[in-house]
Point group: C2
Chain length 451, copies 2
């Protein structure tokens, strides 16, 4: 079979790196060929562990059997689902009457949240002429979208000593800089993910509000990717309020909130996401969505449209359970010498590994040298059976000087330390978290610590 | 509520027209408020009339209830479905061994065929630098994609006197022209839809092969949108072979075939489409699809992966029934004075209305003038209760001189006659087709014919 093409592929597409998840999964497979310490601990993927709620499975089954669900539906989603979801948002965000609002007509249903994000980038960012301000580390699928669409990411460095919060002063300085104003590439949006992927960092309302004001000041959109919003906790570990921006009377002029049904309702394979935005923007998103999806899959839309209120207790319970698991995770990891949970929330924890990892060449087959996160993640997976994602998957290559000099804002150099791993804590039960402690100790031994 | 945005929308998106289908549907609603001639005859949408096969509904229901389907699946689709679908393709195209082949690894599963098309355009056409050769009239969703992605369509005029076949000589002349070679915008692909939307024109293997050779010669991709391939008929009205390009040893270097599960299997609401291409291209499409869909919805993929062989008799039967319905349609329409089926196949018929439509101002409230297809479609829907789509929905505006001068190739002027309507014949039973005859006669009366 020929591997050649008679025609050319777009350079931006050629230059976009393949999704990295399969690479990490291959490391796990390598461990399984020689499982020294017992079962593989899969902590790499941000997916829900449990099955969907029984009532959801039942309704999915029922409406999939209905010939009506097999027909095309409205481009931006079933009206009933849009209205029901608006109600859930009002309750979760505790939106008081008369202080802004979220209505069904402010909601668009997409085939998953990645599609929602791509749609937004297509809608606001002319290729080759746009930039997006986004915290670094960044979710790789978003970086891939920038690359595919020839949109330049301007990376706002996160504060490694303060739960990986992005530096608003660096962003403000950049937006005010005179150099920036002469560029052909113009910033179109600030994009935040809270709770964050990959760091797990959860931004407070006050922090998000500051970004909102910055976006307003510079005529930018504020895109909040709230895929993990169902797992924001209050002081008691209960489900909390992600932010209060929907109470702003004019939120529709600046804010776009992206969401997913995959996490809270545990149905990623059914593919449903959401966009909350003003009708003035949704009008344009309708045009794009018509070309991209025609409509999101109907059976899960119809199934959920009547079920959402009844699933509130289930959401609350999942959120509480995950909150407990995160606490357990923190306790377990922080108790191992040299390992530190530097940021945690939602589905993820960002963890620094021991800074003095060196090792004997006889053990690993490599010379003594300082290892980056991909080396460590690979050793941890293939030798110890703990699959995580290296921090480097969420960064530009440390060797790409041009990006680091031009596109990473002030204060970003420290991120080159490349000493973090992303652990997904939602996809496992507590017993896996408990097993993690001894494994990390084995890793320390393997890496020659305490010798 | 404010309708203003604090940020700017991409000019290409602002400039893209909204999907036109809702406009035509609104005409039908207007008729229903005063239904003079009986029920509304909906002949506008290319959707299957019947429910999915019982076994499909059963399997959809079963696998939607399975928690496994709720998890993420492989980016390019379930391996079993890809393999099973390759088998169906081999049978439908009667691919003989040793003469090329189609394997599971040549197939990607997308969330519908619109997504497959958009993915292809993103993969091959850098925005602002690319053009695509495509027959005129063109499917509006494809024209919307070009507009959104700043890709320039070069319109190959169809021969209105020969079943709306696109003029290969015009295309060849354009590709050979010296003017063309100095342009910054380079042709990347030839895109054909067969059976065609909107004209219903079905291209023979020999015709398609000529386009394939032209694409090869000029280092272009040949994109065949074969959404309606299940409804190609042989001389007996049975399901036929769409073309024999898959027998070419090197088809993977030039050909990309798009398909849909929505029509043959009657499940548009479940959203499944397909791309058949070589692995060298699918590698890049994987990257785009990961950012767009992560994976197509899983329950319909899993449901179909075991059912496809058993559905062959159902496909054959649907194809035969539609073939008969098209014949009936042709007979009914051609028997009405001034109405002519000029092209028919797959889901659609392209029909010219009487050239001498003039009318008394007292009847319609308009002055005597020559009316375009949108006027006629609107009158036919709102007054007579027959909803179709006007040919103008599939054309650049006749007033857009720049497009007609620069982007429509030689021989296109005749299309400005704007005297055609698209009838969708798949969404109705024979009794509706029979009712159409008297309605068109009423239309003739209303328009003052024979007075």
């Amino acid at each position: 079979m020929s591997n050649l093409l008679n025609f050319s592929v777009a350079p931006a597409v050629e230059a976009t790196e393949a999704p990295p998840i399969p690479r990490a999964q291959a490391w796990g497979v390598e461990y399984l060929e020689n499982p020294t310490y017992g079962e593989l601990l899969g902590l790499s993927q941000g997916v829900p562990k449990s099955a969907p709620h029984e009532s959801v499975l039942k309704a999915l089954s029922e409406f999939s059997a209905d010939p009506l669900s097999a027909k095309y539906g409205p481009i931006l989603g079933e009206t009933k689902l849009r209205e029901a979801y608006a109600e859930e948002i009002k309750i979760q965000y505790q939106i008081k009457n008369g202080e802004g609002n979220v209505k069904g007509e402010d909601i668009g249903i997409t085939t998953g949240c990645n599609m929602a994000f791509l749609t937004l980038i297509m809608a606001l960012c002319p290729p080759g002429k746009s930039s997006v301000l986004i915290p670094l580390p960044s979710y790789f699928n978003q970086m891939m979208v920038f690359s595919l669409q020839s949109v330049k990411p301007i990376f706002i460095p996160c504060d490694t000593l303060n739960s990986f919060k992005p530096s608003i002063s660096s962003a403000r300085e950049y937006l005010n800089s005179s150099d920036r104003k002469t560029e052909n590439v113009k910033p179109k949006m600030i994009c935040l993910v809270s709770p964050n992927n990959p760091t797990g960092s959860v931004y407070s309302h006050e922090e998000i509000k500051e970004w909102y004001e910055l976006a307003k000041e510079f005529k930018l959109a504020l895109i909040l990717d709230e895929t993990y919003r169902d797992f924001v906790e209050d002081d008691n570990g209960d489900r909390g309020i992600p932010h209060r921006l929907f109470e702003e009377a004019d939120w529709r002029e600046t804010l776009v909130s992206l969401g997913s049904f995959s996490k809270g309702y545990r149905i990623p394979g059914h593919r449903l996401g959401s966009i909350i935005a003003g009708p003035a923007l949704l009008k344009h998103l309708t045009t794009i969505c018509d070309c991209m999806q025609i409509c999101a899959p109907r059976p899960p839309q119809i199934a959920l449209s009547t079920l959402l209120p009844s699933l509130r207790p289930d959401l609350a319970e999942s959120s509480k359970a995950l909150s407990k698991r995160r606490n357990l995770f923190k306790e377990v990891v922080n108790s191992v010498e040299g390992w530190n949970v530097v940021s945690i929330g939602g589905y993820f924890a960002y963890v620094s590994f021991p800074s003095d990892y060196t090792f004997a060449s006889s053990t690993i087959g490599l010379k003594r040298k300082k290892l980056g996160s991909e080396d460590i993640a690979k050793i941890l997976a293939t030798r110890i059976g703990v699959v995580t994602l290296p921090g480097s998957f969420f960064m530009p290559p440390t060797s790409d000087d041009e990006v680091w000099e031009n596109d990473v804002l002030k204060g970003g150099e420290i991120l080159k330390e490349d000493k973090w791993l992303r652990f997904a804590v939602a996809n496992v039960e507590d017993d896996v978290v408990i097993k993690l402690g001894p494994r990390l100790k084995e890793m320390n031994k393997l890496m020659g610590m305490g010798e």
